[in-house]
Structure formats: C-alpha cells, structure tokens
C-alpha cells in the first residue's frame, strides 16, 4: 500500500545545516532571516515533492477503488454475458450473450422479488419520512427539553447491527411467544380493541413470519423502526439551517403554526428531503439483512419476503449461477439509477431552484 512520501526520513532542511532528523523545527535561526544557501537541487526536489505530495496522499483511494470497485464492476458486466458455475473455475465460463438478461425478464421469481422490493421501498420508505419530518419539527421548535436525549434514543437502532435487531424482532413476531401478539391480545381484552383486529382480518395469534401476507409488513415495520431516527436527525440538521427570523416574520404577519410548517418549513426542507429520499431509495432497493434474517435466508413462504438483493445472493452463492447473479445486479443498478432520476425530476430540481431563488 502506498504510504506517505517517504515519511519523516527525508525531511527538508532548508538551511543546509546538519540538523537532519532533528524533530524540533522551530529552533531560533542563528544567521540569515531567510534561507539563502538552498541549492538548486534542493529547491527542485522540495518543489517536486510539494507538487507530487497531494497525488501520493490521494492515491490510496484510487488504487483501492480500481482494485475493489472498478474492476469488480467491469468484471460483473463481463460476467453477466456468460454462463458460469463458479465451482468449475474460470475455464468453464461460457459466452451466452443476453441470455441471462432475457431469462431474468421471464423469471417469475425475479419479478416477484422486484415487486417485493418496490413494495418495501414504498411501504417502509414513506412512513420513515412522514414520521421524521414532524418529529424533527417538534424537536427543533425549542419548546421541549431533553432534545438530545430524545434524539439519541431515536437514533439508537441505527447504530446496532441489522442482524441483532432482526433477531430481536424475530422473537417479537413469534406466534405463541411473541411480544406483538401478546400486546395485541392484551389490547383486545383490556382496551376493547378486538373489533379492530377483526376488521383488519387478524386472527390471534398471528403467524407474522410464516404467513405470506404478513411477511412484508413485518419486514417493513422493522425497517421503519430502524431508520426513522436516522431520518429525523437528517431533517433536524436541515431545520437548524432555517433562519429563525423567517418564522418570526411569519408570526408578525399572523401565520399559524400549520401555515408556517406548510409555507416555510416544507419548502426550505426540500433540498435535505431530496437527499434523504435518495438515500432511502438506494438503501431500500438493496434491502438484504432484514429479509434474510426474518425469513431464515429463504425469502419466506411463497417468496413473499424475497427481495432482489436476497434473490441475487441465493442465485450467486447458493445455486452458484454467477452469470445470472451478475446480470441481476446490473438490472438492479439500472432500476436504482432510474428511480434516482425520477426522484430528481420530482423533488431535486424544484428543491434546487428554490434554494437558488
């Protein structure tokens, strides 16, 4: 790995004295005010070092990206036109043209996984923002104490591993022993909410992770729980950049709180909302850990929890169809790019215009 330019051993010594290797550079200089005796070779080399240094400093990123970023991307593109079972070694690669892609387009599991992924993107993505924006508004209003304590508690799920929290949620969703069913039963008895469960078609105890209809909602609840705090922090940071005077001016003009929220907060929040939604799209389209743990790595009953990322993993690493998996990763990439562009059309441009104007 490329290190710094020779480290300290080649420290420049401007006044040519035998102080090489001396660690204290700030000694009072005895004679000349500026170093007059620098030889051309010395000046040349220090000039060169100063010019070269930034390139050396930034090179690790570009080297690493070439090896672990660009090369894999190009290779997966190449791979996506081949049929290849990884067990056979590179020699067993076989050119199949667009076959992987055409196969995927007719593969019901792929469509199902794509539908599941988009469903989860919306159902677990939207609430995150709908909870986060008002919550950030409340926290930013300056009316509540312990703001940092509340912020930290909402943020806590984000720092803990998805596997750990998915494990915990597996116990929460347990049919006989789960906390969720226990809570629903308790509410039905004590708060007389049983009619509501009936209206929703819930027969207690509910097999949350076993019945096809409930798997996606169960995953979505976990995702919302894990990420709403992260989004709240993003919006809170965005709200803090809105000048207080705007609200004060609006109050002078007699604007109510909802009006202020509608006409000041929301428009000025648009750039950060665009950023936050972009992150949600990129993250949720690659949802893997949550469905993997909650469905035991399978995708669940009749593949109703199978996301594209999970299907990709199974295709590549369980069934060893590396070519199909590579093609799938490219199709997912194209879809994510498409959604990001759509998001930019809907939110980004307007947000940027407002900021500019």
């Amino acid at each position: 790995m490329a290190m710094g330019p020779g480290g300290d051993s080649v420290r420049e010594v401007p006044h040519g004295a035998g102080t090489a290797g001396h660690p204290a550079p700030a000694l009072p200089r005895p004679v000349a005010a500026h170093p007059p005796t620098v030889t051309g070779r010395h000046r040349g080399s220090s000039w060169w070092k100063r010019r070269a240094a930034p390139y050396v400093f930034i090179s690790p990123f570009f080297i690493l990206f070439a090896v672990f970023g660009l090369y894999p991307i190009l290779f997966s593109f190449y791979l996506s036109f081949h049929s290849w079972n990884a067990v056979g070694g590179l020699g067993s690669m076989e050119w199949v043209g667009l076959e992987n892609y055409t196969y995927l387009l007719t593969d019901p599991w792929f469509w199902k996984s794509l539908w599941n992924t988009v469903w989860l993107l919306i159902v677990s993505g939207l609430p995150q923002h709908l909870i986060a924006i008002p919550l950030a508004f409340i926290l930013n209003s300056g009316l509540v104490r312990l703001r940092n304590l509340f912020s930290a508690s909402y943020f806590m799920p984000y720092i803990t591993s998805t596997v750990a929290v998915a494990m915990i949620f597996t116990t929460i969703y347990g049919t006989q022993y789960g906390a969720l069913n226990a809570a629903l039963a308790w509410l039905a008895d004590h708060a007389r909410l049983g009619w509501l469960w009936e209206r929703l078609g819930l027969e207690l105890p509910v097999n949350w992770l076993g019945r096809a209809a409930y798997i996606k909602p169960a995953i979505a609840i976990l995702v919302v729980w894990r990420w709403f705090g992260w989004n709240t922090m993003l919006y809170l940071a965005g709200l803090q950049t809105i000048p207080r005077e705007l609200y004060e001016a609006a109050m002078v003009d007699g604007a109510s709180i909802p009006q202020q929220f509608r006409w000041i907060t929301l428009p000025l929040l648009k750039p950060i909302a665009f950023f936050a939604v972009t992150l949600t799209i990129i993250g949720n389209m690659q949802l893997f850990d949550e469905p993997f743990v909650l469905t035991g790595g399978t995708g669940g009953t009749s593949e109703s929890g199978l996301t594209v990322a999970l299907y990709l993993y199974r295709t590549g690493f369980e069934w060893l169809y590396m070519g199909s998996a590579a093609a799938m990763s490219w199709m997912l990439f194209v879809i994510i790019v498409g959604m990001s562009i759509l998001n930019f059309r809907l939110m980004g441009r307007a947000g940027l215009e407002r900021r500019g104007g």
Partner: protein, 277 residues
C-alpha cells in the same frame, strides 16, 4: 410559535416524543429480558416482561454452542483494523484535497463523490471471486481492506480539514523544515482529532455490524464475526431464544455503551456530511 406554548399542546408534544422513545427502546429492553429466561418461560403466553434468573445457564449454553469469544475477537480485530486504516488513509487524502491546489483536483474529487452513488451490490459477485483469488477467504482483511480509503471518509475529512486547518500554519511548518508528510503528521493530525472521533466511530460501528460481506467471505465458524455467529445460532438452536438473545445482547452492548458516551458527536458527525454537501 406562541400557539405551542399552552400546556395541552406541550403535553401532546411530550406524549408523542415519549411514546416514540418507548417504541424505540422496547426491543432492546425485551432482548435483555429474554436473555435472562429459559425456554419454558419464554414460550409461555403471555411472555415474560421482567428479568428472570437463567442468565448464567444461558451463558453456558451460548459458549458451548459457539466459539463466542473467538467470534467477538474477530469482530473487534476487524473493526479496529478498519478504523485505524480508514482514519489514516482518509485523513491523508482529505488533507491532499483540502490544502493543495493541483491539476485535476476538482475532477478527481467529483469522481470520488460519484463513486458513493454506485450501489454496493453491483460488484458483490466479483468481490467474492477476488477474495478467493487473493486467498483472503476467512481472513479479516477481506472485510476491511476494500473500504480502507472510503469515499465518504475522505469527503468528511476534506470538509473538516478545509475548515479547521489554516493554510498559514502549513506555510509556517514548511519554513520550519517540515516535509509534506511531516505537515500532515505534526500540523494536521493534532488539529483534526474531533473528525477522527466521528469517522472512527462510524467506521467501527459499520464494520462491527457488517453482515453481507462477512456472509460471503467468511466460511469457517472460527473465522465468523458476531453477526454471522448469531445468524448461525438461529439455525442451530432456533428454539433456544434465551441463549440467542444473550448472544445478541452481548454483541450489541459495546455499541450501546459507546453510543451512550458519544451519541452527540456521532449524530453531529453523521449529519454534518449531509448538510455541507
């Protein structure tokens, strides 16, 4: 916001905030509760809501089914290596981008930012092939090496160094005979300790929690990191939720403690990048 100052409005606001906090905290609480019960209590309806007495028995079963502390050490080692290398390479590159004027700087920085938009899944299949080819399967470096000079880290460092390190100080250092790397080590590093803290925590937590990468390159149980070990436990003793929740609790506890200590800086650091961009 005078309208919000009346006490019913305040009460409503606090009710919202507190109930959200309870909803966030409950799963963690329940994890600790289940870790102290044996299966017969866990499977009883209604499930236990208060701590039990089976903690040590659960611990015995946990460490007899898993090389738990070995797995914990793997997690710690991988996360520490990731943190150390990331801090070094990202601050060095951030220094380069922030304090030098060189040909192609803006293009290269723009390219770097662009790489953040590429979804990680795109290269996942070749990632495994490269690691196999390098002979890094089951080795921690398969997990930390690719991210050592992360684009996000460099971005964070560049922003911080540009605002925290005055250019004059570098010139003074040069006159005093420091090399360019010496400037980094003796002038820049002491000034950017807060940024080291933020990026360090982010990197540590990210690597500690890395699941998909570990799933792909770690094949032997003694090489597993904690997320993988927990996941394997799910298959092995899926009915032993007491031991499983204890393992989960032990894997989460260090992060919860670290977060309790440094939550403010973590949140500020994470959201700062979003705003300055």
């Amino acid at each position: 916001m005078q309208a919000l100052r009346s006490w019913p409005a305040k009460l409503a606001l606090y009710a919202v905030l507190v109930s959200m906090a309870l909803l966030t905290a409950f799963p963690f609480y329940w994890m600790f509760v289940l870790a102290t019960h044996d299966r017969s209590t866990i499977f009883r309806a209604p499930p236990p809501m208060w701590f039990g007495t089976e903690l040590s028995a659960n611990y015995e079963r946990l460490v007899s089914t898993l090389p738990f502390w070995r797995n914990a050490w793997n997690s710690l080692y991988t996360a520490l290596m990731a943190t150390g290398t990331t801090l070094f390479f990202c601050s060095l590159a951030g220094f380069g981008f922030a304090m030098y004027d060189f040909k192609g700087r803006d293009t290269l920085f723009g390219f770097l930012l662009g790489t953040m938009m590429v979804p990680g899944l795109l290269g996942i299949i070749p990632y495994y092939l490269i690691m196999r080819w390098l002979g890094w399967i089951n080795l921690p470096r398969a997990l930390y090496a690719p991210g050592m000079a992360s684009a996000f880290g460099i971005f964070l460092m560049r922003q911080y160094i540009a605002s925290a390190v005055p250019a004059d100080l570098l010139d003074a250092g040069r006159i005093d005979g420091l090399s360019e790397f010496g400037l980094y080590r003796r002038v820049v590093v002491p000034l950017i300790k807060p940024a080291f803290g933020t990026l360090g925590i982010i990197t540590f937590v990210g690597q500690w929690n890395n699941f998909m990468g570990a799933l792909i390159v770690l094949k032997e149980r003694t090489a597993y990191t904690l997320p993988l070990a927990l996941r394997s436990l799910q298959g092995l003793i899926s009915t032993d939720w007491g031991a499983l929740m204890l393992g989960t609790a032990l894997s989460v506890l260090p992060l919860l403690v670290a977060f309790a200590v440094g939550s403010r800086r973590i949140i500020e650091g994470l959201t700062a990048g979003a705003l300055k961009g």
